[in-house]
Amino acid sequence: MSVPRASAPGRVITRPPALLSARAGAGFLAPAFAFITLFLLLPFAWIVGVSFTNQTLLGANADTGFVGLSNYARMFDTASWLPGGFGYSLIVTAIFALASLSGQVALGLSLALLFHGRRGWWREVVFTLVTLCWILPEVPVAFGWLSFLDRDFGLLNVILRALHLGSPDWTLDHPLAAIILFNIWRGTAFSMLLFSAALASIPPSYLEVAAVSGARPWRRFWDIIVPSIRPQVLSAVVLISLWTFNTFGPYLITAGGPLNKTDIVAIHTYRVAFRFGDWGLGTAIAMFTMLLNLLLTAVYLLASRKREPNAGA
């Protein structure tokens, strides 16, 4: 039998096994790509463009006039760091996002850990409850919270009074705490679901080996669980940060006030762009926010790339 050679070995470089040919893959991606181009990239281009103009919704500036970077300069003028300014809003947002993030991760992780390896109706009840807080529509839920936080009739204060812990006026005296609490309440489900999936993917034998090796629960948590779910923690941190940074929900609780104490970036942008129709400034703020988000995403990509080379078997 003659053995015909296609070519000398080493010259032919076949692609690694792709289950899907590049053509079919492109076909599958096409609808998503069309949607994304039409409804994300195109609007994005508009935002970039308008951020260099003094366009307003109505009035004499309703048509575009190029103003260079002056919108960006306006964002950080001297009034910016006073209540109501963008700089002030950034600080508020940073506190809001950091506190919400740590709260959500801590609470979500605690719930996931508490129920790790447990089955049964109680777990179903708690998980359903927490998940519902996440997926129920924002507006009705906000009414629930307004009621919950109400100084006089709110359940929170009813309980606190019963415990002789006073009855603080949440939306007036601690508005930032109130919306942080609200955001944690609303978002915990995501990290809880994420972490319980992550915990379920840790082979039980990892923890058992540690137990047999003499490690106590706290030790097992730090030595085994934390390193094992690091990638998921990273995902959670980035996604929650992104979502928290851009959430508008607290508007329904405090409307950004009082005295702009809860003027987070999304609310600030809403006020500038929607209420005052100042598109130039509004889009510039959106662009700046986007750059901050981009930074976050980049850190995420770098961090997740770094762990790849020494990923285990």
């Binding site: 058992e208 137990a211 003499g214 490690a215």
Partner: protein, 350 residues
């Protein structure tokens, strides 16, 4: 090292009884194998010894200490899991050293003890690698190192070799046996591979459905299986089991064939029993009393396995490697009566 005593332990999961009234006495320095088919309760037994599962009844002693209610960390056992459970985020060194680390061993003591074990298990050069960069055999040795780095009283191995390929398995087997001898370890070794159990164990227990069927030295179990289950589980191919009716003393019927055993057993006349014969104890003989139709021939080199249909049962016959039996037709067989075993209606050896 210490001896290990299980007294009447039992484990119930909801409505399944995974382990039933199990008592074992494992001696100091003994290599003890737990053998049985999948789901028979081997792992559950071992997890109870380690403290990973609480027994529903019974007691466990390690040495003089009762450990039944102690958490795993307080039992001072070493354990190797079936999947090794090496930590992918730690180097080989830190994997091996983990039991030392949690006990607060630090500094030079820490590195020295790891090096000593790694030397012994020929892992010296691999200490800085991650488990993902090791072959299966190397991973197994790391898992063993982690179990032995700390001087445990009892060592537990849960099917440590089942993930290895045939050749590696042979090597690892010899290695484990040597290690156990050298360190005089008390070992409980779980496996469903009877060859492995026989090759390694000083004594072994054969389990089925949560119940120990037989405890004994490997050869004893091989030669005199306590039940038909043990008979059909041990040996490769396993013992052939044929139904026989004792019509008269010294005249047994098996299918159409009339058998004339050495020992007539008049006391059993009239009963229908099971005759057990290992494949090497059925000899090809034109004058044999049994006849069977050839179904398959498996030439394995050192031996040839002949599969026959005798009285409706599949019967294996072990022939030397050079034998070239016909691959079809009917052959006659002669039992080697001195090796035959007889089981009663419930499957217990008579």
């Amino acid at each position: 090292m210490a001896q290990l005593t299980l007294s009447g332990i039992e484990k119930r999961f909801n409505n399944t009884l995974a382990v039933k009234d199990l008592s074992l006495d494992i001696k100091d320095g003994e290599f003890f194998a737990l053998l049985g088919p999948s789901g028979c309760g081997k792992t559950t037994t071992m997890r109870m010894i380690a403290g990973l599962e609480a027994p529903s009844a019974g007691q466990i002693h390690i040495g003089e200490r009762e450990v039944t209610a102690l958490p795993p960390a307080d039992r001072n056992v070493g354990m190797v899991f079936q999947d090794y459970a090496l930590y992918p985020h730690m180097s080989v060194r830190d994997n091996i050293g983990y039991p030392l680390k949690v006990r607060g061993v630090r500094g030079s003591n820490y590195t020295e003890r790891i090096s000593a074990v790694a030397e012994q298990l020929q892992l010296g050069a691999l200490l800085e690698r991650r488990p993902g960069q090791l072959s299966g055999g190397q991973q197994q040795r790391v898992a063993v190192s982690r179990a032995v780095v700390h001087h445990a009283d009892v060592f537990l191995f849960d099917e440590p070799l089942s993930n290895l390929d045939a050749k590696l398995r042979l090597e690892a087997r010899a290695f484990l046996k040597r290690l156990q001898r050298e360190l005089k370890m008390t070992v409980v070794y779980v496996t469903h591979d009877q060859v492995e159990a026989m090759a390694l164990a000083d004594r072994m227990a054969v389990m089925q459905g949560g119940v120990v069927q037989q405890v004994g030295a490997p050869l004893e179990v091989y030669r005199r299986p306590a039940t038909t289950f043990v008979a059909s589980f041990i040996g490769n191919p396993p013992m052939n089991l044929l139904p026989v009716t004792l019509e008269r003393a010294g005249r047994w019927r098996c299918g159409d064939a009339q058998l004339t055993p050495d020992t007539p057993r008049p006391e059993l006349v009239g009963r229908t029993l099971t005759l057990g014969l290992r494949p090497e104890h059925l000899l090809l003989d034109p004058a044999g009393e049994l006849s069977g139709e050839v179904m398959a021939v498996e030439p394995l080199g050192v031996e040839t396995i002949l599969m026959l249909s005798v009285a409706g049962e599949t019967v294996a016959v072990r022939l030397p490697g050079e034998a070239e039996p016909p691959s079809s037709g009917t052959l006659r067989l002669r039992p080697e009566w001195s090796r035959a075993v007889l089981f009663d209606e419930e499957g217990a050896r008579l």
